[in-house]
Amino acid sequence: MKQLHMLALCGFIATAHLTGSTATAQEMLSMPAATSPSPNVLIPRVQARAYFYEERQSLLEQDLRLEYGIVRDLSISLDLPMYEGFFEAPRASDGDFGLGDLEAIIELRILREDFGAVDTLRGAIFAGAELPTGTNGFGSNGVDPCLGGVLTGIFGRHGFDAAARWTFVTDESPFLPTLASTTSADFANLDLGYAFRFYPESYGEERVPAWYATLELNSLWTTSGEYDVLLSPGVLLEAPTYAVEIGLQIPISSQVDDAPELRIAALIGLRLIF
């Protein structure tokens, strides 16, 4: 547990030292967005999640994501999760800590239509791989390529996201918290998201933070027949220099083999902008 907290602290400190930049526009909590950092801009994002499964088993996840703008509309991101599992055998058992697989993604924005002062429609495609950096059963031994696309639309106070991603599993997948396991089957992530800006009703000349209520439908489907569908409500506070996100993930349908079923997950996230 101390290791996790120390690494989380290191993540926040690294975040503070690495950045000298801004962050992207409103993003959902648990799915990609067609947002992209400006050239030579580094964006950090730290999220902590707690997963609660049946029979009092649980998992803590600390995720550090760095996104960097290479040129206009082209960015690269690195995402490193860290886990501490409280599972019964045969999984990583009580208090076992491990790194997850490092995810490296290149994203190319292929659509940007700005219709008005606020209204915009953006689309991006991305490709990358999960690299075998996992330890203690929280990763795999293979490089797993992935590709996908995401569409983001913001119309006044309403924001929409839709994303699809396919991961080709070459050996064993990265650890998948919602399945509390890895899988040797290819899998797809399909996500839909909606955000409503409930404050301010209308922007003005003042630099006030904006509050959003978000609702996502996150799903994962493996070619071996396992799946889970999660309903994810949340709240996002976004200011010019920081963003805070809090949310839940509630399973509404799942088919998981030989693994504890997820009951609920909670997350809190922070983005700092200097």
């Binding site: 930049s21 801004t22 962050a23 992207t24 526009a25 409103q26 947002t35 992209s36 400006s38 050239p39 801009v41 206009r72 940007r112 700005d114 219709f115 008005g116 002062a117 606020v118 209204d119 915009t120 913001i154 119309f155 006044g156 106070r157 309403h158 924001g159 929409f160 839709a162 399909l190 839909l192 909606y194 009703e201 209308s202 922007y203 003005g204 000349e205 630099r207 006030v208 933070p209 904006a210 439908l217 799903s219 489907w221 493996t222 070619t223 071996s224 027949g225 396992e226 799946y227 569908v229 976004e238 200011a239 010019p240 220099t241 963003a243 349908s253 088919q255 902008i273």
Partner: protein, 140 residues
């Protein structure tokens, strides 16, 4: 067995996709039926501003950049950062409601119009036009 489970998985996925598309359609319809958002009124944004500035450089004075697509508070930081990289521009102020960024060009450096267009594009937005608010020696 894997084929059977895959078929079930695909069937369930199709059901959820259908349900999700219904929800998205309903939401989009609801949004489309709303009156135009207060922020998104491009036709009257520029009515009270000065003339369109079309010269290749900006001489000392105050200018309004009409910018589309700034949809969240962090957009302000993006615009600040990118405009801050251009020599000769100071004190940018963002009015998100109307999509207007006012800037001051104190001189003697005269930033180019192209550099400003590129900066706004790099920030992730669209610069529709530059309007002159006041130039040295005159006010509009």
């Amino acid at each position: 067995m894997p084929l059977l489970t895959s078929a079930r998985s695909v069937r369930v996925a199709a059901q959820y996709a259908a349900a999700a598309s219904c929800i998205v359609t309903a939401l989009l319809t609801a949004c489309a039926s709303q009156p135009a958002t207060r922020e998104a009124t491009p036709d009257n944004i520029t009515a009270h501003l000065g003339a369109v500035h079309s010269a290749p450089t900006l001489t000392p004075g105050h200018y309004a950049l009409v910018v589309f697509g700034m949809s969240c508070p962090k957009c302000i930081s993006n615009v600040d950062l990118q405009l801050g990289r251009i020599a000769g521009i100071v004190n940018p102020k963002v009015d998100m409601k109307h999509g207007i960024v006012t800037i001051e060009v104190p001189g003697p450096a005269e930033p180019s119009r192209d550099a400003i267009f590129r900066a706004i594009l790099d920030a992730g937005f669209t610069l529709r036009e530059i309007r002159t608010l006041s130039a040295a020696g005159r006010t509009q």
